[in-house]
């Protein structure tokens, strides 16, 4: 079991190397599709295997610190197992969706190559046990995503990709600076070792923390570091938008933030308040910007900012409660945050896939040009409606439950105003998705919709899988709540650092 852990990184990396070779063959596109499906199915199977597994610490090549070498360490705790499964899920549906959707683009093998490089990067970030590898994998994923945003090669895509590139690189530089300062202070790169040898809080460490906050917030698209996202996410091909909004910002931003601030650096009152503020501001500003949009994908992109705000807010509240020893509320907040992260990955990917399907069939993504989709594309519009209701927090769909848990935790933590704000944002989200449903799903078919046909089977399948999760995930939560509460527990107990320590870190 332990020995196959690196496969999670190796499989997509290997696929990414094989895929460009197929470019030369006439049967390249078909082969690349087959390879892509096999790879993502294998990833899915592996991650499900690890989802119920025990915690694992794996030293690459057996180079443990005892042997005096600077080894690469992969760590799997409950939180990372959960994140891996989530990445694998979205990867699988995005691949399925790409099968038909990407046929209209040239260079399919190269697309899948970048796609799996991004997956490699994300899986690497999730498993990395030392901060420098975390950075390397983060850059792998980020650079793959820059080029994927520009994959359409239109002027808009290139502009968006350039902005994303510049801002993303600035963010990465800050992360690297932070790593440098931490290394200077502790002489360690392994996350657990840093936590062990952390000196008394000083200005240099605060500076490093500030750099980390800026860098990871930028990756997570928190306001005011969000500006790249509304350009980048809509410009990418739809399955990539689903990957970017669904998992990339979560893995590079939020997961890394949790690893650094909860497990490595000591949580402090200021960090908690900064996280709460970032979350609350993103929530509110994101949703206001979203409400006014008439471009479907842009609207969705702004909602990603707002929904990530919920998650960061929940983590901030959890951090604050941990400091005051209220573990009950902290675990509730973490549970809510993780569950919302999962739900957001599901419904936001679904929404982006639906937007892709609508664009595929009608050629437009402007709300005012769409309309009456339910008459022509019943599967797409049902899925779209389900996802819209999920993100608006309407019971019995999954978004309701996670928002409910977050709001309960916020109010129990004594932040009544924040609770009220969260409810208000939820209402604004509802408004904006009422608008989406009104203009896209309902009414009589518009000119561009009237000749549209339902999208091919594999695209429908991808959407239906996610829609079923949207319906079931909330009500059936008690059945698999353990996954989330284990994840939350592993954050609270700093299981991660314990693990590495036990393994001789």
């Amino acid at each position: 079991m332990i020995n196959i852990l690196p496969l999670l990184v190796a499989i997509p990396l290997g696929a990414a190397f094989l895929l460009p070779l197929l470019e030369k063959f006439p049967a390249g596109p078909r082969l690349s599709r087959t390879l892509a499906v096999i790879t993502s199915a294998a990833l899915m199977a592996l991650s499900l295997l690890f989802l119920t597994a025990d915690n694992i610490t794996y030293w690459m090549g057996g180079w443990t610190p005892d042997s005096g070498a600077l080894g690469i360490c992969l760590v799997l705790d409950h939180l990372s197992a959960f994140m891996l499964a989530l990445v694998a899920l979205v990867t699988l549906v995005a691949t399925l969706f790409s099968l038909s959707y990407m046929k209209r683009y040239t260079a399919e093998p190269l697309y899948y190559c970048l796609f799996f490089l991004m997956v490699t990067g994300m899986n690497g970030v999730i498993l990395a046990g030392d901060i420098f590898n975390l950075y390397v994998f983060l850059e792998v994923a980020a650079i793959a995503s820059y080029s994927l945003v520009a994959f359409g090669c239109g002027s808009e895509e290139l502009e968006a990709s350039f902005k994303y590139l510049v801002l993303g690189t600035v963010g990465s530089v800050f992360i690297l600076l932070g790593i440098a300062i931490v290394y200077n202070q502790t002489g360690q790169l392994n996350l657990a070792a840093i936590a062990n040898t952390l000196p008394q809080q000083n200005a240099a460490l605060s500076m490093a923390a500030a750099f980390f906050l800026v860098g990871f917030s930028l990756k997570a698209a928190m306001v005011p570091f969000h500006a790249w996202l509304p350009d980048a996410h809509p410009s990418a091909p739809a399955p990539i938008s689903a990957m970017l909004s669904g998992i990339l910002i979560k893995v590079l931003g939020i997961y890394a933030l949790v690893r650094v601030f909860f497990d490595t650096l000591e949580m402090s009152q200021q960090f908690a308040y900064i996280l709460i503020t970032l979350g609350a501001v993103s929530m509110v500003i994101g949703v206001f910007l979203a409400v006014g949009q008439w471009d479907f994908k842009r609207l969705l992109a702004y909602h990603s900012i707002s929904q990530m705000g919920y998650v960061v807010l929940a983590f901030g509240v959890a951090g604050e409660m941990l400091l005051t020893q209220k573990f009950n509320i902290a675990s509730l907040a973490l549970l809510g945050g993780l569950f919302h992260l999962f739900n957001h990955a599901v419904f936001k990917s679904l929404l982006f896939l639906c937007s892709g399907a609508a664009e595929y069939a009608t050629g437009t993504r402007l709300l005012k040009k769409l309309g009456g989709l339910k008459h022509r594309m019943p599967v797409t519009s049902s899925c779209l409606r389900i996802a819209a209701l999920s993100i608006s927090g309407v019971p019995p769909f999954n978004g309701f439950w996670s928002k409910l848990i977050i709001i309960i935790a916020t109010i129990q933590a004594g932040h009544l105003w924040l609770g009220a704000m969260t409810v208000l944002v939820s209402f604004m989200t509802l408004l904006s998705f009422i608008k989406v449903q009104r203009y896209i799903v309902d009414g009589d078919p518009s000119v561009s919709v009237s000749s549209a046909k339902e999208v091919p089977f594999s695209m429908c399948l991808a959407m239906v899988i996610l829609a079923i999760i949207c319906i079931g995930a909330g009500i059936l939560l008690p059945l698999y709540q353990k996954i989330f509460s284990d994840g939350a527990q592993s954050v609270i107990t700093e299981q991660f650092t314990q693990l590495v320590r036990l393994a001789g870190g």
Binding site: S206, M207, P395, L477
Partner: protein
């Protein structure tokens, strides 16, 4: 039936809804059969619950850090009565829908019926639960189902559907916030409804805010001002049966049920809050009826009355006195009956003629006598004409308002009575334009005939109930309003019934008078009238020119000085919370969008700004701990 678990009352319609949703397109009969059987069973099951009051059923869905999220059903007497009424309306509607939905729209038929069944499940859950969070979930599901049902009305319905979902969504959010504040912040608050009693010290305290938030939820659901605008918007496109089912009956039942429980049981109100309630009630009565008078569309007109009548219930609950509460709860029951009946009549008219425009209708009394009868009875009931049920409940409310020790009392009574008079006035217009007069020839409509028995039976049942409840008000007061008093632990129902105005004698006299009138008509010269052609200046004029539609009846009201500008504003939606909110939100959005210029250097400077702020927070404000 003794071992019937309460939960089946929710599970059966939910599953039946799923079944109809999956029914093949061609099997319309199967869909109808499932719906009628399920609703019939529900009616039976809810009435058997009456024998098992106090029964409860609990299932823990999940435990979250010490909070139990559970389905917690508890058969309170009030809840069961509300549930019974919900089931009754569900059953009548199911019968009505057998013939109502056009056969060529089979694709929507199974959806329609499954939404109706899911609505029933959710509404019953809201009425029977003891757990506030579960109630909230059911409450939101009814909102969602209403949205989906309105959307079945096609292209014209989508704006109304969006508005409905927006306003009710706001109220659901208010309710969510209130419930969570309630559970976790207020001393003595818990998720269990039966054990709650909180005194409000001032409207601006946390308790007061909590109450106001719940009030918003209840008023929006019931459709009182200023959260009323979704009802007329929904009426524009929604099918009539949906209007009869949700805004006219179920939403009222749920909204007033919640209003009664929060105002009389959960919280002890201050005087200022009571006055607030009464003023909302009075304003709602008059404002909505004024709008109703000038409508040209039957559905819209009825929808404004659906708002206006809520005013009486709110007013009655606001008085806080025994008679007022009795009147309000009784009015809730009565209103659901006659308003549902009126919408069903509208549906029947629409089905037979293809329109609900008052200008295009006329003279239907001869071809649709049963619908005409149902319409007249329920129109008189809604106008509060004795001896029909609407009179009794309104009378109780008037009495209660007169007794309140406030200088406002005369104005409130005046508003209430005036509202009734205007209601009658506008229904005269309806009856004239739809059923009497002659049909305009310019409008070619399908050959109208009486609707099928599936549709007339529910209307006649409701009309008969209006008459019976009016002549014998003691029975419903004892068996439907009394339970509400029991549940909310208010004593003194007996007094109310003892002091009730007894309409038996008056009804008898009225019947005698009617009989004499009929006799005179039959034996007198009633049939011997002469039909003559109309001439102007020696020229024969077409019947079309002689057609006088009732829509013009009150158009002068619109141009009265003072009222004129109010009407103008109202028609431009200036008083519509939806549009006001939209405008405010729009300007905020504009400000934010102006910052999103797409210039990279600006974005970079935000980044630097953010970094500086974080650095100041972390380093500038001193070391942690």
């Amino acid at each position: 039936m003794d071992d019937l678990q309460m939960i089946w009352v929710l599970i059966v319609p939910a599953l039946a809804g799923l079944l109809t949703f999956l029914c093949p397109r061609r099997a319309a009969w199967l869909v109808n059969l499932i719906t009628v059987l399920t609703t019939g069973w529900l009616l039976f099951a809810c009435s058997s619950l009456l024998k098992h009051l106090g029964q409860n059923w609990q299932w823990n869905w999940m435990e979250l850090a010490g909070i139990n999220l559970s389905i917690d059903l508890f058969a309170t007497h009030f809840g069961v009565i509300v549930a019974l009424l919900i089931a009754l309306f569900g059953f009548l509607l199911a019968l009505y829908c057998v013939a109502f939905t056009p056969q060529n729209q089979n694709r929507d038929l199974s959806k329609h019926h499954s939404y109706i069944l899911w609505t029933l499940a959710a509404a019953l859950g809201a009425a029977l639960t003891d757990n506030l969070i579960f109630m909230l979930i059911c409450w939101e599901i009814t909102t969602l189902m209403l949205y989906l049902l309105i959307n079945l009305g096609g292209s014209s319905a989508r704006a109304g559907a969006a508005k409905t979902f927006a306003i009710l969504g706001l109220s659901d959010c208010a309710m969510l916030l209130a419930i969570l504040l309630f559970m976790f912040v207020l001393p003595g608050g818990s998720a269990s409804m039966s054990s709650m009693k909180i005194a409000i010290t001032s409207p601006f305290s946390l308790q007061g805010v909590c109450y106001l938030l719940l009030l918003v939820a209840a008023l929006a659901k019931a459709g009182a001002m200023p959260f009323h605008t979704w009802i007329p918007a929904a009426a524009e496109g929604a099918p009539c049966d949906v209007m009869a089912f949700l805004p006219a009956s179920l939403d009222k039942l749920l909204g007033i049920y919640l209003l009664a429980r929060i105002s009389l049981q959960f919280f002890v109100l201050t005087n200022s809050l009571k006055v607030l309630l009464m003023v909302i009630g009075a304003v709602t009565i008059v404002g909505a009826v004024m709008m109703a008078m000038v409508q040209h569309d039957l559905k819209k007109l009825l929808s404004f009355h659906a708002i206006s009548q809520v005013g009486y219930m709110v007013l009655g609950i606001g008085t806080g006195s025994l008679i007022g509460i009795a009147g309000a709860v009784f009015h809730m029951v009565n209103h659901a009956m006659y308003k549902s009946c009126l919408f069903l009549v509208a549906g029947s008219v629409q089905k037979q003629t293809g329109t609900t425009e008052l200008d295009k209708l006329g003279g239907l009394a001869k071809v649709m006598p049963l619908s005409f009868f149902a319409c007249v009875v329920s129109a008189l009931a809604i106008s509060g004409v004795p001896p029909l049920n609407g009179f009794t409940s309104k009378w109780l409310v008037y009495q209660a308002v007169l007794e309140i020790p406030s200088r406002l009392a005369p104005f409130l009574v005046l508003a209430a009575v005036f509202g009734s008079a205007l209601t009658l006035a506008s229904f005269i217009k309806v009856i004239h334009s739809v059923f009497l007069g002659s049909q305009p020839d310019s409008v070619t409509i399908k050959q109208p005939s009486e609707s099928s028995q599936w549709m007339t039976t529910p209307m006649l049942v409701l009309a008969a109930a209006c008459i019976l409840f009016g002549i014998f008000p003691a029975w419903p007061l004892e068996n439907m309003v009394g339970p509400a008093f029991d549940t909310m632990k208010i004593a003194g129902m007996d007094q109310v019934i003892e002091n009730l105005w007894n309409p038996a004698l008056a009804s008898f006299l009225l019947l005698v008078a009617l009989a004499i009138g009929v006799l005179i008509y039959v034996f007198g010269r009633g049939f011997n009238f002469r039909r003559a052609n109309l001439y102007i200046g020696g020229e024969k004029i077409t019947p079309e020119a002689a057609h006088y539609s009732g829509t013009g009846f009150y158009s002068t009201v619109r141009s009265l000085p003072g009222i004129k500008s109010v009407y103008k504003d109202a028609e431009r939606d200036s008083y519509d919370i939806y549009h006001i909110g939209g405008r405010i939100g729009g300007s905020i959005v504009q400000v934010l969008r102006n910052c999103q210029t797409g210039v990279l250097s600006l974005y970079l400077s935000w980044l630097v700004l953010g970094l500086v702020i974080i650095l100041i927070c972390l380093i500038g404000l001193g070391q942690p701990n």
